[in-house]
Symmetry: C2
Subunit: 196 residues, 2 copies
Amino acid sequence: MARTLEFFFDIASPYSYLASTQVERICERTGARLEWKPVLLGGIFKATGNISPLTNPVKAMYLMKDVLDWCKHYGIPPLVLPEAFPIRSLTADRLLLVAQEQGRLPALMRSLYAAAFHKGLDVNEPRVLGEALKAAEMDAAASMAKAETQAIKDALRANTDDAIARGAFGLPLFFVGEEMFVGNDRLHFVEAALRA
Amino acid sequence: MARTLEFFFDIASPYSYLASTQVERICERTGARLEWKPVLLGGIFKATGNISPLTNPVKAMYLMKDVLDWCKHYGIPPLVLPEAFPIRSLTADRLLLVAQEQGRLPALMRSLYAAAFHKGLDVNEPRVLGEALKAAEMDAAASMAKAETQAIKDALRANTDDAIARGAFGLPLFFVGEEMFVGNDRLHFVEAALRA
């Protein structure tokens, strides 16, 4: 039976973006099924008392260099951080769940991450969200309205609560069965677990 | 000209231990020269306002699993954490500098890490330190006396201050020229930099 990779991520998280560029290929290589799980990183931090590594200025300086090392390693464009940082991603994350219902989650995720981390735009701005939705071939107005429904709000909270209940303290987060891995830099362990 | 890898580590740091099992091989593979730099992790945390990831209980639970993943990956015995944790390593780290003067640093480092992370012993206990020194073929009494001299105290502080001045916030830490890498999980970037 094919294994499943659960990928928990947030549009606000640069390291989630890095991992998002790899997870589909890993699933192709291993024959695993990919389950996308948008969550709110802020909710995980709040529940666990963990804080963003970017809040420490000495750490933050290195992390900006580190994400560029990863971009080079993955052969993707150098990441830029939006001026509006930390990123307010609540609406963007909810839109991912709207997209998921229409089979458009990967397309919208890519256009949102490109807006945030290639163009440095504020993905909390309706104009930026509208363009990302269009790029993902989704109806912007209908999707924005849908994102404000209780069902979508509850779905994002349910994903986040699920991650917290299973031991999350940061993102990106991966589950292979009940085995948890945290961080873009653990993808080699994720791949090994999918092959095991 | 051969490149140099500066390896900053502390006997108190499980991830430094993991990296210590790899750095010599990396230098062999790349022809790099290895510079061992014992430092005091507590001093780095104090200077930068950073804290041990093990202080967050949710994070700590995952990190114990993560270090075991790395042990399996490296083909080394499963790491055990000493009961006396966090590890008080001030004397152990000073002894490394005594050992360095006699060309015995790698031997003593291995016996100290084995005491702490294979046997779970308290490397702040004179008896444990004495046995580690003997295993490294060093004179225990003379080395313990030497570790208390001002020159050795100053040398550990100088290494620590050097790391802090160059941007350290955690361990293990690596420099290839002035390029910094932080974490056992960045050794693939270290190796690439040594080959560049």
